[in-house]
């Protein structure tokens, strides 16, 4: 019994001495923090996504106090920028709101399965991508094991019935975590502009036209028809795939109408807050 009491007393004693030392030290060594820091952190979304270029929301909050522009938080959008601007007494400026987009519609159920045929490894896109290409179908398309879905902290990504990842723009906050996950680099952040709908090439197939068609029925063949009709000149073809600068798109649908393969699709943005 004595030894039990002694044990408790000893451990409690060490804890007490340590605690007292820490209390004294924290008083003596207190660092003055700007009281606005806590307010700023509570205003920020708290996603710690790093899309502002700072290490987490706290890092951005500290940078804000040192004069960083308050329109860097894409997930927070206009509302957060406005509140930050008010708090810090500066002009909030324009926020470029971005949404993640998966640039693949899948090659159809049958072809997805064909590509995975013979693969018995872990059900992960990143593992699969290290195994080399197991078939002749599109080697740039969505693998469909949903690594991006697992990486999304907001549940904005789902797999459709063809095992192709799809981002719900109403849920996505544009943090960009998924863009680094996809081993085929299919997911990109696209800037939302003022038109509610923009055109987008839902394809990443870098094969030459004929081979691209053999691999997938939904492919862009890099024919450059769209680049010629675009009044904004915002379409370029690189590596046999057309790319549209969505921030300049005026939604004239000229490219969609001219595309022989139907690879260009309208994307519907959710309205800005």
């Amino acid at each position: 019994m004595d030894s039990l009491l002694l044990t408790i007393a000893l451990v409690a004693g060490i804890g007490l001495v340590g605690g007292v030392i820490l209390v004294v030290a924290s008083r003596a060594l207190a660092v003055e923090e700007d009281e606005r820091l806590g307010t700023i952190i509570s205003l920020l979304p708290g996603a710690n996504c790093g899309s502002c270029g700072h290490p987490g929301c706290e890092g951005y909050a500290k940078a804000l106090l040192e004069g960083a522009p308050c329109n860097a938080c894409g997930p927070g959008g206009h509302e957060v920028a406005r509140q930050l601007g008010e708090l810090l007494g500066v002009d909030s400026g324009e926020v470029t709101v971005k949404r993640a987009i998966v640039a693949c519609r899948g090659v159809g159920e049958r072809l997805v399965l064909k590509e995975r045929e013979g693969y018995t490894g872990a059900e992960s896109c990143r593992v699969y991508a290290t195994m080399g290409h197991l078939s002749n179908s599109c080697t740039d398309g969505c693998i469909g094991y949903g690594d991006c879905m697992a990486s999304c902290p907001y549940g904005a990504i789902t797999l459709n019935k063809n095992s192709v990842a799809v981002v719900d723009p109403a849920v996505c906050i544009g943090c960009g975590l998924c863009t680094t996950i996809c081993p085929r680099h299919l997911i990109s952040l696209q800037a939302m502009n003022d038109v509610p709908e923009v055109s987008f090439v839902l394809c990443h197939n870098t094969l030459m036209g004929k081979r691209a068609l053999e691999a997938c029925a939904n492919t862009c063949i890099g024919c450059r028809k769209c680049t010629r009709v675009c009044p904004q000149h915002c379409i370029v073809v690189e590596n046999n795939v057309a790319r549209i600068d969505t921030s300049r798109c005026i939604d004239c649908k000229a490219c969609m109408n001219v595309c022989p393969e139907g690879a260009i699709y309208p994307l519907v943005w959710v309205p800005k807050q």
Partner: protein, 197 residues
């Protein structure tokens, strides 16, 4: 007498290097070795914590032994180390904020760094006297610092290299850590022969 201390010191730095031979404290070794300044800062912080921890825990062990409570060693030592690390964090935040920022989450993680607990227990298992224990703690800390700085150099070379994609990032870092560790195996026996302990 001096040869004995030198043998302990260099033995801890080279032969029994905590990171590269005993494989303790791998977490900060991997986490903070990217940048030379924070690697050296982490090494210095750990050295300091080890020294102070042993300075406190060695007498504490004598007290525990006298009371017949040796089985409390682990929990009592962890308590002491946790307090010291908190204290160190406050001191760094106050006086060297840049180092505090660059060490980030790895600073509080020294609390659970097995290298620190390892050295406090090891000096008791070895039956060192108080001065010997302090020298051993200094050696362990300097060994950690040395490993951090060496590995930072290795890593900066690895980052310039162009390994196959599957090895990029953590895999190649772990492999180069293994090779660095193997090179330290070469020190086995050297110190014993030098100082004749």
């Amino acid at each position: 007498m001096m040869a004995g201390y030198a043998s302990i010191l260099f033995g801890m730095i080279l032969v029994n290097n905590f990171v590269l031979v005993k494989f303790l404290g791998i977490c900060p070794f991997m986490g903070v070795s990217k940048n030379l300044d924070s690697a050296a800062g982490m090494g210095a912080a750990v050295t300091l914590v080890m020294l102070v921890a042993v300075a406190v825990t060695w007498p504490l062990q004598q007290l525990l032994a006298q009371l017949g409570l040796e089985y409390l060693q682990t929990i009592a030592f962890i308590l002491v180390i946790a307090t010291l690390v908190q204290l160190l964090e406050m001191v760094l935040k106050r006086f060297i904020p840049s180092l505090h920022a660059s060490l980030g989450v790895y600073l509080p993680l020294i609390t659970t760094n097995c290298a620190v607990l390892g050295v406090t227990i090891l000096v008791i298992d070895e039956g060192y006297t108080y001065p010997q224990a302090l020298v051993a703690a200094l050696g362990a800390g300097l060994g950690f610092l040395l490993a951090m700085v060496i590995f930072n150099g290795v890593r900066s070379r690895v980052e310039e290299a162009n390994p196959p994609e599957v090895f990029r990032g953590m895999p190649i870092t772990l492999i180069s850590a293994a090779i660095t560790a193997m090179s330290f195996m070469g020190f086995t026996g050297v110190v014993d022969h030098l100082f004749g302990a």
